[in-house]
């Protein structure tokens, strides 16, 4: 197979990788914030549940979690799911996993805001929700850009784990092509594409970070 054909096949697969990436990033950023609220709840039982959830999600392999999400419904509840559930399972598994990481990032960002910011807002008459929305969250957003950048870069590479459920993303295709072609060309090209994609993402985050640097 010539390089052009391989590249084209891989790029087709990269669309699925991108889908996994985008769904996970958006889903986990939202779910992570909710999880962070539970983690910081004033009810101890909720805090403990969130803590255990985060601990398990961060402490076991993502690949294993994908298996659980994909095979769990059948083995636990005997629910037959169509093969198209594969991609959905990947989305669910990735979002559940990354939300745990993002929740901790949000938490460290929120806890880093000085108490005086809350006090000043309270004295000025801001409600709790207003304080969080207008005073705290904008500052948290700036603080978490670097750790979120890290996670996002890891996520791009992690999308290749979807091959374990035989979802036709870029790495899965690279494996197929390499096996058929009996060369590692496909892997090399896939590596280059992952790298370029990461460069773009890192560049976008760097730009965002710069945009937010109007204050310290």
């Amino acid at each position: 197979m010539d390089i052009g054909t391989i590249t084209q096949k891989l790029l087709e697969g990269s669309v699925v990788s991108l889908e996994i990436f985008a769904v996970t990033l958006v889903g986990a950023l939202i779910l992570g914030l909710l999880l962070c609220f539970v983690r910081m709840s004033r009810f101890m039982i909720l805090r403990i549940i969130a803590k255990i959830y985060i601990s398990i999600m961060r402490g076991t392999p993502l690949m294993l979690q994908l298996f659980v999400v994909y095979f769990g419904p059948y083995y636990l509840f005997h629910i037959e799911l169509s093969p198209s559930y594969k991609l959905i399972a990947v989305f669910i598994g990735f979002v559940l996993n990354y939300a745990a990481y993002f929740a901790e990032i949000y938490r460290s960002g929120i806890e880093g805001i000085p108490e005086g910011q809350y006090e000043a807002a309270t004295i000025l008459g801001y409600s709790k929700v207003q304080t969080f929305r207008y005073i705290i969250m904008p500052q948290v957003f700036k603080r978490i850009i670097p750790p979120v950048t890290n996670e996002t870069i890891t996520l791009i590479k992690d999308t290749s784990l979807a091959f374990t459920l035989a979802v036709a993303e870029m790495f899965t295709i690279a494996k197929q092509v390499a096996a058929a072609d009996r060369t590692v060309t496909a892997f090399v090209i896939a590596g280059v594409i992952y790298y370029i994609f990461n460069l773009l993402v890192a560049g976008a985050f760097a730009k965002l970070e710069k945009k937010m640097s109007y204050y310290k």
Binding site: G116, T122, I123
Partner: protein
């Protein structure tokens, strides 16, 4: 007329009794200075009066309003409109410009017309000698300038009483003067103020009434002459230490 009446408040943190039965009154147009050694409870007193902490017992009543000690959440929101507080560390919002720091609460909380809020904020900045700094961000300013912005931010909500919690403690001696001047000007306009301070000369010159606190009680209070010339042993010791 009294704008604020505090009666018999007590506050403990764990086993530590920080305030033991404090009562005081703040009259309209009065400047009250609260002085005393570290750990005497003066900042706690201010935090109770501004509802950042809740007293264990006693009452804190702003004229015509429900008791702040037992107030519901909604009542507290109502009481907060009555006063402003200037913090030791300014606590400006770093992500908003100077003008936004001042006009955000009037617009967002008081629902004031943004244009009107802006022109009022500009007038306050001018009064603070900072009209050129409207679009800068807090960390671009000196400590003294930041503190003046925070005073403007408090004034923008038209409080009836303005509290200051050691407003110059975080500043170089050089910058302290500019803040004291601002407070002096406000006193000349008959702004009712309660100032926790370590600046003895300032307290003596600006305050109408001085409270000297020691170990959670009011050790002595009265006019500056009365307090500074008193024979109270703790007061003498305190002033002596400052003189060293």
């Amino acid at each position: 007329m009294s704008l604020l009446e505090i009666k018999h408040i007590k506050k403990s943190f764990g086993d530590l009794e920080v305030l033991k039965d404090i009562s005081l009154k703040v009259d309209e147009g009065e400047v009250l200075a609260i002085i005393g050694p570290s750990g005497s409870g003066k900042s706690t007193l201010l935090r109770l009066a501004t509802m950042l902490e809740t007293a264990d017992s006693g009452s804190i009543v702003y004229a015509g309003l429900p008791d702040a000690v037992t107030a519901t959440k909604a009542q507290k929101q109502q009481i907060r409109k009555y006063f402003g507080l200037v913090f030791q560390n300014f606590n400006l919002f770093p992500h908003r410009s100077v003008i936004q720091n001042i006009m955000d609460a009037p617009v967002r909380i008081q629902k004031k017309d943004p244009e009107q809020a802006r022109s009022e904020a500009m007038a306050l900045l001018k009064k603070m000698g900072l009209e050129g700094k409207a679009n800068e961000y807090p960390q671009q300013l000196s400590g003294g300038q930041q503190q003046r912005v925070s005073i403007a931010r408090a004034l923008a909500l038209n409080p009836k009483i303005l509290f200051f919690d050691e407003p110059t403690s975080a500043l170089d001696p050089e910058l302290t003067g500019e803040i004291l001047k601002v407070i002096k000007n406000l006193a000349a306009e008959h702004m009712t103020m309660v100032i926790v301070t370590h600046e003895m000369n300032f307290a003596r010159n600006v305050a109408d009434h001085i409270i000297f606190m020691d170990k959670g009680v009011i050790a002595i209070e009265g006019t500056p002459e009365h307090v500074f010339n008193s024979d109270n042993a703790r007061m003498k010791e305190f002033l002596g230490k400052l003189g060293d």
